[in-house]
């Protein structure tokens, strides 16, 4: 099994206008999805991200950064185990937020390092 990060991308401007309660009440019930992934040994962990943050580059620190208005900004992530990229994609497709068209999932293999 390999590790993958399933990055959640959604409309940050839209969720930025909501209170925390509203934001999670508006999102579909993710518990069953995560629970079934945990049961099959595929779930490692994950968290939602707050919409506010800082954007840091060599020359400056922007208080909001460009991501705050992003239509497909990063709003959370899950780390899963999957047999291969195809299975990771198949799992991401069953995410309720994806199925309802509320979010996009970016599926990225976590880069394994070389053994010495």
């Amino acid at each position: 099994m390999e590790r993958f990060m399933l990055i959640v991308r959604e409309d940050l401007e839209k969720i930025g206008r909501l209170t925390t309660e509203e934001r999670f009440a508006a999102s579909p019930n993710m518990l069953d999805w995560v629970k079934s992934l945990a049961e099959s040994g595929n779930y490692i962990g994950g968290e939602p991200l707050a919409v506010t943050g800082r954007y840091v580059s060599k020359d400056e620190v922007l208080s909001d950064g460009p991501f705050i208005e992003a239509k497909e900004g990063i709003s959370g992530y899950d780390i899963i185990l999957a047999e291969n990229l195809n299975q990771a994609v198949a799992i991401a497709q069953t995410c309720p937020m994806v199925m309802l068209g509320l979010a996009i999932r970016e599926v990225r293999p976590i880069q394994p390092m070389f053994d010495i």
Binding site: S36, E39, S40, G46, E83, Q87, A90
Partner: protein, 411 residues
């Protein structure tokens, strides 16, 4: 219902999936949808023909023959279209598609369903459809999905099968090892789906547990199994032994504390022990650890006598092997009863901050119960009320309501 209809229904239930699978295996040119149509038509022909002429001496042989001929005609037609003739291949396929070649078929299909590209849920769903022979309606009910949802999942899986001819080929020996662990997972998930308490005492649930055991038994009888297969068998048997005691006669859900332990099936426990002993290996899998935990529960003469300390240690090892917040909850529960309450509350409070676990009724119910046992009824009530609104299952709602009522009595 007339006798012909009964006979056809009976055969259909037992053979439909096997016949589809076997057609797919025998003829590389047939896609899953066509195979289902051919089998479906054969059963319809049987119904019409037998009503006129009576049920033949070998009903199943009759259906197989019709099915085989239909498949042959279909392929000949396609071949003509493609102006191809592969006589040798055809003869070989005809040999393979026979009633007697079926015995080891389910296992072969099971390994085909265990394709690593499919999601675990899709793997279980196509197994239930093509190996266990469940109807789409039944599968939808089991997973709380719509029939349309199951159809879509099957369609997607079938497309994969069609694209890659997954079901047609036996996995490569090197791939077998990976496939075996997926097969274990499919069996484990099928069993769990049957064992879930939220669904209550539905008959179909018990049947799912039986099917999982039968599949695993077939695996044990083959040359493909390993020590993990034995550990998984032990785990399922230990849980089966306690199946009936989880509900009161009234259908009400009972927790481990209040189960009538005399209802536990000692024969199954004995058998499970035997499998667990024979599963010993240098590599300890999650099935070994879960079976060991179930074993300790079965060995306890009462809730208080349970070896919670060892159970907690086993959960710690399980978590080391596979991080899993839901298992952490079980670990915390074992720690609490092993009198390590500080550690237990620490984990529970961490889980409260987990975005998903926070919504889980069992976490809040556990916090409610433990606060009650520690004498803090006010906090207990808050957690129990939260838990009550987090589940839709009536059995679970009633269970939490009883706990809240108990608080009021003590107030």
């Amino acid at each position: 219902m007339d006798t012909v209809q009964q006979e056809v229904d009976h055969l259909y239930k037992q053979h439909f999936g096997k016949m589809v699978a076997s057609l797919l295996y025998s003829w590389r040119d047939i896609d899953p949808e066509t195979a289902e149509d051919i089998v479906q038509d054969s059963f319809s022909s049987a119904l019409t023909d037998w009503r006129l002429k009576g049920i033949p001496a070998n009903p199943m042989g009759w259906i197989y023959k019709v099915c085989r001929n239909t498949a042959l005609n279909k392929i000949k037609k396609n071949k003509r279209l493609e102006a191809l003739s592969e006589k040798t291949d055809q003869g070989w396929a005809e040999d393979r598609f026979s009633e007697s070649a079926f015995e080891d078929q389910p296992l072969r299909i099971l390994f085909a369903c265990a394709h690593p590209d499919l999601s675990p849920k899709a793997q279980v769903v196509i197994t239930l459809k093509y190996v266990v022979n469940l109807k789409v309606e039944a599968i939808a009910r089991i997973f709380g999905m719509t029939i349309d949802g199951v159809d879509k999942l099957l369609l997607r899986a079938r497309q994969k099968i069609k694209e890659e001819k997954i079901i047609l080929e036996e996995p490569h020996p090197q791939a077998l090892k990976q496939r075996l662990s997926i097969v274990h997972k499919i069996i484990y998930l099928t069993f769990n789906e049957g064992y879930k308490s939220s669904a209550g005492k539905e008959i179909i649930r018990e049947e799912l547990c039986e099917e999982a055991l039968l599949l695993n038994k077939a695996l044990l009888d083959s040359h493909l199994s390993n020590k993990e297969t034995k550990a998984l068998h032990a785990l399922m048997l230990f849980n089966c032994a306690r199946f009936k005691s989880r509900f009161a006669a009234s259908g009400e859900l009972l927790d481990l504390e209040n189960q009538d332990r005399s209802l536990w099936n000692s024969d199954l426990i004995f058998l499970a022990h035997d499998f667990l002993t024979r599963s010993q290996s240098r590599v300890i899998s999650k099935y070994h650890l879960e079976a060991a935990i179930a074993c300790l529960h079965c060995a306890a003469t009462s809730f208080e006598d349970t070896d919670w300390k060892t159970i907690a240690q086993l959960y710690a090892r399980l978590l080391h092997l596979h991080p899993n917040p839901f298992v952490e909850l079980n670990y915390a529960i074992a720690l609490f009863y092993a009198e390590d309450k500080v550690a237990a509350f620490k984990i529970l409070h961490e889980l409260q901050h987990h975005a998903i676990l926070n919504q889980y009724y069992l976490l809040n119910m556990t916090l409610g119960k433990f606060h009650y046992l520690e004498g803090d009824n006010i906090t207990a009530r808050q957690f129990l009320c939260k838990a009550y609104h987090q589940t839709d299952a009536i059995q679970e709602k009633d269970f939490i309501q009883h706990m809240i009522d108990k608080l009021e009595d003590h107030a």
